[in-house]
């Protein structure tokens, strides 16, 4: 496909979703320090400022909002190198007590939004026949954690989506992988009872909570230009498989 003349950033451009707090914020701060141009988003306002970081407040499950976000980034920078789809919502609740609206919202943010960001970013990546997509999943699917049925189902969908996406985008030099961290003390799990978290950690091969640094470590591997033959994979931390 053609690549019309346009200004292109010299530094690599990374999109990260869900950057207002938690792991997403840590990822954004880390990669901007390393010289990436980082474009972050969340429902709320930015919680930090940094040279090279731009924040957009939006609902990533809204198709038009995602399109406008990615289009703006492409116009300003002329390239997208990496996407880290970190944004997600969870609701720990027995399925017998889960309203349809809660399930639908979780699927919209965790699955549909991931698809939308991948779709629109991949169209920009295709121009340069290069791209790295990392979609965040969870260990609660493979470990079968009671109380997380809908959340786990949505993240299992992300794994399957990512695996198939890898085959659909491979011809354009775009790799797609998934990553599931062990529990990390963020707002997402603040409502989960401590004994539940302890039980999960004690069932791991590496019996400790996850750290944001663990996430960066896996992302570093997936987004490395040398990882051009690493695609359609899922990595779980802590010995989960």
């Amino acid at each position: 496909m053609s690549a019309p003349a346009r200004p292109m950033a010299e530094r690599p451009v990374m999109l990260i979703t869900g950057t207002r707090k938690g792991i997403g914020k840590y990822l954004a701060e880390t990669y901007v320090k390393r010289g990436y141009i980082v474009e972050g988003c969340s429902r709320g306002e930015a919680s930090f400022e940094a040279e090279g970081y731009t924040h957009t407040s939006m609902d990533i499950s809204e198709e038009k909002a995602v399109k406008a976000w990615v289009s703006g980034i492409a116009r300003r920078h002329g390239r997208i190198d990496c996407v880290l789809n970190n944004a997600a919502i969870a609701s720990m609740n027995h399925v017998l007590l889960t309203p349809a609206a809660t399930a639908n919202r979780m699927l919209a943010v965790n699955v549909t939004a991931t698809m939308l960001v991948c779709r629109d970013a991949a169209k920009v990546m295709m121009r340069r026949r290069y791209g790295r997509i990392v979609n965040f999943t969870t260990i609660v699917d493979p470990i079968g954690l009671a109380g997380e049925a809908i959340y786990a189902a949505s993240k299992a969908a992300v794994v399957t989506f990512t695996r198939i996406l890898a085959f659909e985008l491979g011809d354009w030099g775009i790799t797609c992988n998934s990553f599931g961290a062990t529990p990390i003390m963020t707002d997402m799990i603040k409502g989960v009872p401590k004994e539940k978290i302890d039980a999960v950690v004690n069932a791991l091969a590496i019996k400790r909570l996850g750290k944001p640094e663990d996430c960066v470590n896996v992302c570093d591997f997936f987004i490395n230009p040398l990882s051009d033959n690493i695609t359609a994979q899922v990595v779980y931390l802590g010995g989960v498989s």
Binding site: S2, P4, R6, E63, K64, K67, A74, R75, V124, D171
Partner: protein
Amino acid sequence: MIDRTVAMEIVLSALREAVDQNGGDASGVNEQTVIVGPEAVIDSIGVVSLIVDIEQRLEMDHQVSVTLANDRAMSQRNSPFRTAAVLADHILATEREGAVS
């Protein structure tokens, strides 16, 4: 807003490039060239590339942001991508709607 002449030029230019990249003869590409179906001049992956290429040209060269594989396109009995002329008309209709979905 773009007019039909511009839309047609974008489609034909992108289509010629797609046919050329597919190893075909792009010299015969015109408004009636078939893009989708048994008579198509490009394969299914070529169609994906073509649609994305056209979206990117619209975006970068004309500041027109559209998603051509939108709900309206998917709900039509006949593909809005079937010929170059039909695709150009679909671009104009999508832009008029301000549709990205």
